[in-house]
Amino acid sequence: MNGLDARMRAAHEVGDGPALVALYQEAAETAQSDMACGFFLTHAFVHALESGDARADDLKARLRGMGRI
């Protein structure tokens, strides 16, 4: 996972919302199952929502397309 775990932990540590959005999106791209993908996109979406990040809309649309929201 290319140190993704470590980067996520670091971003959580400092509460870097925009970074978390990107990192969870990255995790979603390489997820092994539909459920795992939905799981990571959900986190990307929540962090985008919380930080007022414009990516929230796309993430929401994507989750909706998957029947997950």
Partner: protein, 383 residues
């Protein structure tokens, strides 16, 4: 415990003050919390506490965790500061909400206006909806609130008449001051932490009898006979003066007046205790609001805020004004703390009033007595 209030509601010449238990008994305090504070429009904070859109500030009112939130629509709302999921405290420090409020527990998210906007994994991992969870019905619980003279009033039990109706006559009385009041900022707010029951701060504020003794500095220009009583039974009471003098800087500069005031206010000023817990001052060139925050039976935090007619006022003059009022309000501390101590004297009969000078204070006691009696009656009827 119940208290005998029959002597309190007598005409002032033969009336007694409230019995000791209203200042010392936890049971009576609990009754008053419900009947005098939660059933009424109580002062909670000021809108200047959340100056910018997205500002969120947690506040506690008699143990109830509340959240002040200025939405991106610039509307100030008051919510219960808990998540609709497991009742977790949502916001524990004042901060700016950039997007949504995320609950620190399972990350349910609420919008700036309280709507529930995300329920992550509520239907299982990666599944963010469930038929049993209707997001539209699970927004933050809003507490009825009303802002007047920048004070945020709340009716926690949601059972009071609308604020404008309940206080129509005071709104009318001070209609001339309906122009913008600008908070003076950080130098125009202070708090006093006082070891007294909140009611004693009201009782002291609304009478002028003590002025020449407790505030001797006022004697040179403001004598007892320059004051009149303000008495609105069941709603508010206080005092007015005919000899208000504007504060002046070294160079003689004064604060700008509020626009379009009638002559009455050239040298007139009024000081009113709006029941239950807000003390207000209206003057031609500045105003103040004191919110009495009861922290317990015998502890009150007084939150003092000063307001001006213009957003730009002279900093030095503002500081001088704050210092002057602080001195006056500090002079009252020893008497309200002394009366609180005095309430532990067994057999004290509540005290007697000056039939001429204590009208506003007696009115407040009569209001308390009436509200408590009605509350007890309802409790009996509900049994």
């Amino acid at each position: 415990m119940t208290t005998d209030l029959s002597t309190v509601i007598r005409p002032i010449a033969s009336a007694h003050g409230l019995p000791n238990a209203h200042y010392t008994d936890p049971g009576v305090h609990a009754e008053e919390r419900a009947a005098l504070l939660f059933d009424e429009w109580a002062g909670l904070a000021v809108a200047a506490d959340v100056p910018e859109p997205g500002d969120a500030r947690p506040v506690e009112f008699l143990g109830v965790p509340l959240l002040l939130l200025r939405g991106r629509d610039d509307v100030v709302r008051v919510f219960h500061n808990i998540c609709r999921h497991r009742g977790m405290i949502l916001v524990s420090e004042p901060r700016r909400i950039e997007g949504a409020i995320r609950c620190p527990y399972h990350s349910w998210c609420y919008a700036h206006d309280g709507r529930l906007v995300a329920t992550p994994h509520v239907g299982g991992p990666g599944m963010n909806t469930h038929a049993g969870i209707d997001r539209d019905a699970l927004g933050l619980v809003e507490v009825p609130s009303h802002i007047w003279r920048d004070v945020i009033f709340v009716n926690l039990n949601g059972n009071a008449a609308p604020f404008e109706e309940a206080h129509a006559d005071l709104l009318d009385r001070w209609r001339e001051f309906d122009s913008p009041h600008h908070h003076g900022g950080a130098d125009s707010r202070f708090t006093l932490d006082v070891n007294t029951n909140w009611k004693l701060a009201v009782e002291n504020y609304c009478e002028s009898y003590h002025l020449p003794w407790v505030h001797p500095g006022l004697n040179s220009y403001s004598r007892l006979e320059d004051h009149y009583h303000i008495e609105a039974p069941g709603r508010y009471s206080g005092q007015g003066t005919y000899v208000y003098r504007q504060i002046r800087g070294e160079d003689g500069a004064v604060f700008p007046d509020f626009p379009v005031l009638s002559q009455k206010w050239d040298a007139g000023a009024e000081y009113i205790a709006l029941y239950p817990n807000v003390l207000l001052g209206a003057q031609r060139d500045h105003a103040f609001a004191i919110i009495l925050e009861p922290r317990g039976l015998d502890r009150t935090v007084e939150h003092v805020h000063l307001y001006y007619a213009s957003p730009e006022t002279d900093e030095a003059l503002r500081a001088q004004n704050t210092a002057q009022w602080k001195l006056v309000f500090e002079e009252d501390v020893s008497v309200v703390e002394g009366m609180q101590k005095g309430r532990h004297t067994p057999g004290f009969d509540g005290g007697r009033f000056s039939p001429v000078m204590d009208g506003p204070t007696h009115l407040f006691h009569a209001w308390v007595a009436g509200k408590i009696a009605a509350h007890r009656q309802r409790a009996v009827a509900a049994e």
